[in-house]
Amino acid sequence: MYAYDTLDRTFVAQRTAQFREQVRRRLANELSEDEFKPLRLRNGLYLQLHAYMLRVAIPYGLVSADQLRALARIARRYDRGYGHFTTRQNIQFNWISLKDAPDILNDLAAVEMHAVQTSGNCIRNITTDQFAGVAADEIEDPRPWAEIIRQWSTNHPEFSFLPRKFKVAVTGSASDRSAMRVHDIGVRLVRGIDGAIGFEIWVGGGLGRTPMIAQLLRGFLPKEHLLGYLEAVLRVYNVEGRRDNLYKSRIKILVSTLGIERFRDLVEAEWTLTSGPGLRLETAGIARMQSHFRAPPYADMPGRSREFEAKRLEDSAFARWAKANLFPHKQPGYAAVTISLKPIGGVPGDLTAAQMDAVASLADAYSLGEIRVTHRQNLVLAHVPQDRLHDLWRALDALDLATPNLSRATDIIACPGMDYCGLATARSIPVAQRLSERLAALDEQYDLDQLSINISGCVNSCSHHHVGHIGILGLEKGGAESYQVTLGGSSAEDAAVGRIIGPGFGAEDVVDAVETILITYLGQREDSERFLDTVRRVGQDPFRRALYKQP
């Protein structure tokens, strides 16, 4: 993974000192809240319902065992012993004091971490595929590119006060595990006609009040021009994006108002003038960056592990977990393991300090000391020898971290909602917990595979409910929680925004409603058709009839 050099260390140390001084000025009341808020936000600090919340950046979801242990220490020392992983591969601490924030940033800096630009109207953490460098269908490892973009965007002087937040995802595979098309910019590594590798650039995806799927901006961009081109897109957005209405200020609105052709013309015109030498990437620089992400020293092993096969036959619980939570590794004899952070009835994405320490030790013992965070709020140990999977599984099981439900009905994505979040209109977590408990049995009986249920506590859509196969949005109606349900969304390569099925459901009824939807699906599905395909084939009517008891 990327290792800091003196420049990175100096920057993070200076930035931490700068923030310490800003906090001092705020506490001395030399800065008003209005002046201080944009400063604390760009250092990841929000004021939530009960306390400050600190969002720590996990660049492209990659964290070392030592870093995870540092996060555990922070959870214990400054928080209440746990953290919450988000759909943008970051981690949030819910119970932070403003006065402690500079010390926490210091502790983070000691392990080459920070909270820079995890909030505010600037370029946010760069996200990517959790199986980067491991997936067999990968054209090229996206992480060096994510890191190149991360550095370029760090403290970018021109783009620190954008109309609104700006999110970038990079993927290197044909199957999109990074939700690239719901990002402001999606970057996809592709092979051009002459065989050279470059980028497809997508623009204008985003959720929130007006969900949109990104459109193709450029079919092929030579590698060396990545930053120049991004700078041109950002510049057009900085100048042309709306600033008069919070809900119309994302780049998606600009793109849809101008139309993709007109927007493209503006970007290309700007790029022609901008593509000077300063941002052109040199081959040596690219190679240098790629060397940080070289494949680790794998052992030579046969493609099929006899040990693994035998254990699968012996132990049905293990077999079940292996079926759901393993991803094929490009290196023979290895597997990528997903650790589900969705125990039945638990809080999606939460991990206690003790579990963090334990996962760090397991990463050291089984997976070259590295952990990844997925945009579905789970963790990945990416390099586990198949021979050792059974041992790992037993260790995970003892930690309550072996729920065999990846991409299944109970692998629910949920934001903190009104239990923590100051912007929420309804709670998310209790709904996720009740759903998980209800659907566990249904899943066991009917195999509810490849299903994504996403629950957001307000229109900000942090849980990407619009692109959940089943999306749930919590609203307030007449003083009570009301949940609007959408069907047919997807964040993968077949990205689509789900459609609202009908009037919302009360907090008591929404679990029944989802169950009704799934039972209707079971009645309609052909063979092993996934839920999304059934919805696409039969449309909303059968579900609507079942839900609203229409004839």
Binding site: L98, R427, E476
Partner: protein, 95 residues
């Protein structure tokens, strides 16, 4: 008019606080000063705003409450869910 109390978050740690009759910020809602009189509420709020300007609390505002009174104690229950959660903490286990 419904009964109201004044709340804010404390600047230094973000903790939810409620303003009492003596103008102190308390962590327990039951210690708050409550009133159904507009003038009294306005006076409480203006004191709170002074504290905001001085950098003691952030964003003070009024919260509607119901009062549960019995011989031993007096308890306030905000009418809105959001404020009930602020007063009582998350409705889910914290691990």
């Amino acid at each position: 008019m419904p009964r109201r109390v004044i709340t804010a978050n404390r600047l230094i740690d973000g903790v939810v606080v409620w303003r009492d009759a003596a103008g102190r910020w308390r962590e327990e809602i039951d210690r708050a000063a409550a009133s159904d009189d507009d003038k009294t509420v306005a006076r409480l709020l203006s004191g709170a705003r002074t504290d905001e300007a001085a950098g003691v609390v952030i964003g003070p505002y009024e919260v509607e409450v119901e009062v549960e009174q019995n011989t031993a104690s007096r308890r306030f229950l905000p009418t809105h869910l959001r404020e009930r959660i602020r007063a009582g903490g998350p409705t889910v286990a914290l691990h």
